[in-house]
């Protein structure tokens, strides 16, 4: 009885090993998003296909190592498909609409559509060069990598939890988004059900007519469900508000509105040529006012939070690794621009720059430090029904 079990020994001897994930050590959704946005920022700084591939690989590895079997975690594959689609679209556009990239290696020539004079600068068909294809490919790959990074965050972090970390004043907007998100899968299920029903009546399940006939009941069903959810939320206390003195309410309105105006004016000042002097201070003042307004507005809501996500060391490491990748890539771009943007004119084979590549690998850190999700098929999926 007193002999420690094997796992206990392991746990004691290796305290740094990532623990099994549960609610209390779950990483905040924000940490995953910071990590993914870091990778995405890095991707936006380069067109080197080798670096982009490395970024996709890093994101994919972390997703494979740390995603759960929850419904939202299955979206990663969809994002990869969207990414490939983007690359394809970019190539097709480049082939048919031409490209400003001057090139000498003609791959093939399409018949060119003669266009009237006023459409100067637009070309349909014509010569397709290797340079323009490679350029389009790099460009598409960059966009695809951005999308895949977002997809990684989406499948690692529960989107609803991200919205739960909104300030109290924005809570109601957050709930609306959460409810809307749960509707998409329900509507897909409705479509499946109604297609089945069409088959049962001996009607073809494809075609415009079928879509029209299914569409109305699906929308009807969605509407009915939203009314039911609204009733349920109302009966469970959604929208209970505390009594707030009118003075506070007015201050809140003034602060929020004034703050937002300040942010707008400040941003305009920053972007306009001559407004740089007052732009920054105005922007900062606006942000502060808006934040204060949101905080005061939160006082109206009586809500409390159940087990909010805690930022622990692991969360900082995950978020930090993403930020580090982004910073390293930006810095590398300043030092050696050419390595991150391999030339297309003249056409040269891209090389893998050593230090930027090494810095991308920092992004693998979450695969080690993030808590491990319990493996699928563990006994708990065998609950008594």
């Amino acid at each position: 009885m007193t002999a420690p079990t094997g796992s206990a020994v392991l746990a004691r001897s290796r305290p740094l090993r990532a623990p099994e994930a549960n609610r209390s050590n779950a990483l905040p959704a924000g940490a995953w998003w910071l990590w993914a946005l870091g990778l995405a920022t890095a991707a936006s700084r380069t067109t080197n296909p080798l670096l982009l591939g490395l970024l996709v690989g890093v994101a994919g590895y972390v997703v494979a190592a740390r995603r759960t079997d929850a419904p939202w975690a299955r979206s990663y594959g969809a994002f990869i498909r969207i990414g490939l689609f983007v690359v394809g679209v970019r190539l097709v556009f480049s082939v048919f609409l031409g490209s400003p990239i001057p090139g000498t290696h003609t791959v093939f020539t399409l018949p060119e559509v003669p266009l009237p004079d006023w459409a100067k600068g637009v070309r349909i068909g014509g010569r397709v060069t290797a340079e323009q294809l490679v350029f389009a490919l790099y460009d598409g790959a960059k966009l695809a990598t951005l999308l895949i990074c977002v997809g990684a965050a989406n499948s690692l972090a529960n989107p609803a939890r991200l919205l739960k970390s909104l300030p109290g004043a924005l809570y109601e907007a957050g709930v609306a988004v959460v409810v809307a998100m749960t509707f998409a899968p329900n509507m897909v299920a409705d479509v499946m059900r109604l297609r089945t029903a069409r088959r049962l009546r001996g009607r073809p399940t494809g075609g415009v007519k079928a879509v029209l006939q299914i569409g109305l009941p699906v929308l009807e069903g969605a509407l009915e469900r939203s009314v039911a959810v609204a009733a349920s939320m109302d009966a469970r206390g959604y929208g209970r508000t505390a009594q707030v003195p009118p003075a506070v309410r007015h201050t809140t309105n003034v602060l929020t509105l004034g703050g937002l105006l300040g942010v707008c004016a400040g941003t305009y000042g920053l972007l306009a040529a001559q407004g740089a002097v007052y732009g920054l201070p105005l922007l900062i003042a606006g942000l502060v006012a808006a934040a204060a307004g949101l905080r005061l507005g939160g006082a109206r809501s009586v809500r409390t939070r159940y087990r909010p996500d805690r930022w622990g060391a692991r969360a900082w490491l995950v978020a930090g690794s993403g930020v580090a990748v982004a910073v390293a890539m930006i810095w590398a771009g300043n030092v050696d621009e050419a390595a991150l943007h391999p030339g297309v004119v003249p056409l040269i084979a891209p090389v893998l720059p050593l230090w930027p590549a090494a810095s991308v690998l920092i992004g693998l850190l979450p695969a080690v430090v993030a808590p491990v999700p319990p493996s699928a098929g563990a006994p708990r999926s065998k609950e008594i029904q």
């Binding site: 529960n158 029903a197 049962l200 001996g202 349920s232 469970r236 159940y306």
Partner: protein, 570 residues
Amino acid sequence: MIRFEQVSVHYEGAARATLSGVDLTVPEGELVLLVGPSGVGKSTLLGAVSGLVPHFTGGTLSGRVTVDGRDTRTHKPRELADLVGTVGQDPLSHFVTDTVEDELAYGMESLGLAPDVMRRRVEETLDLLGLAGLRDRPIATLSGGQQQRVAIGSVLTPHPKVLVLDEPTSALDPAAAEEVLAVLQRLVHDLGTTVLMAEHRLERVVQYADQVVLLPSPGAAPVMGAPADVMAVSPVHPPVVALGRLAGWEPLPLSVRDARRRAAGLRERLAPVRPPAPEPVTAPALPALAPSPVRRGALARLLGRGARTPDVPEPVADVTARVERLGVRRGRVEALRRVTLTVAPGEAVALMGRNGAGKSTLLATLVGMVEPTTGTVLVGGRTPHRTEPRDMVRRVGLVPQEPRDLLYADTVAAECAAADSDAGAAPGSCRALVSELLPGVPDDTHPRDLSEGQRLALALAVVLTARPPLLLLDEPTRGLDYAAKARLVGVLRGLAADGHAIVLATHDVELAAELAHRVVILADGETVADGETRQVVVSSPAFAPQTAKILAPQKWLTVAQVRAALGEPS
């Protein structure tokens, strides 16, 4: 705890008031069951307690409803949220968040309870409802019974004094229903919660009730009293009560246990009579409809799609459907394994088994919506998933769990016309069926305005228009009251006598006992029992109807059989 004083509810556009002159007092700490036929305003009465009627649904409420002294006229539902917990018919439309733990906490968050209180109550509730193992699970992945328990748990965490439940067990299999009822029992006994619940499946719940409120007919005043007294006069009652009334037991037993203790005499009277042998299946096979010319689009011809399966000689009359060693996989899940089943014309087969056992998958395979992974399925000599839907409708018809899915049109007449053209039947044949199954429904009624039972009848008529020799029904009695169920049984019996083979997937053991010649029990995708109804259900604690349990070891299945044996007029 709950007081109704002269409450009437009138919805806009309705011909008459849904509730009128209701006077009712529900004392604290009781489990009160609300019974009555469909459409008498049970849901409206429940909604009035939580304030959703009229604040949310509209309509005019006159009179006064107070809950623990709070008047629903001046308190909106959200201001009653700490006092009343409401769970509707469909748990899925109740959930606001996506995981079990968040859902349990949601109500408390809205009320602004302190974080440590919330944490403690969530843990307590997880234990109380046996949900601890599911705490991190996404709600969408839970079974029906688990979802229902989460829904109840989610309104329990704010510690409401009153719990209002609308048909909490209707969609559940017998075991899951027991699970939910056990939880309710515990709440009433341990926590002193007042529970007001409406339910059609009285055989499951009436024994747990402290009092019963009967709404006998629309607009009539409610009758409240001890369960046995109310059941003695109620138009809706479970088989145990029917048997008790038949045998003249006093006081009326409500549970199988009580009834068994009084049943010795009845068993003796019945001993010399042999339970009727199941009616032999000797129905003639249906004459097949003349095949209508198949219209094929130019595109389909071009792609070579829709090629007719080579004409197999028309089915031999002795077998309508044959399933052999059927296996169906979905991803890694084996939904069905080595299932073998034959259905003869005129035979009614009940498929039973817990939620997720593969009943619906088997039905889907029979209509060709699911492709078998292994094994063969032949319906009317065709392989369903390789046959065009247009051909298939004349061989097999399925009434899905939600009959509304089958109905597209906005009037009954349009629906019938569409059904005739879908099936290639003579114009008017569907309408004739509707008039037969559902007398007195005007042509211009919107299908949405029909009651559950009427909608089911309409869907059934639509399916029957093509005169399929094989008729499949998925969970047909969900939401039906006893009268609608009895009508359904009558209709289905008639169809079987005409030579239709019927396969129904159901949790309703009473329905299976009334109707089925054979019962097939599925568990985890395998057939675990297949035999004559009496042989299969009498020995099973979960699937035996109440009459069989009371009169065991004699093999009586329904009250009607006993009545006939005693020579009483029905």
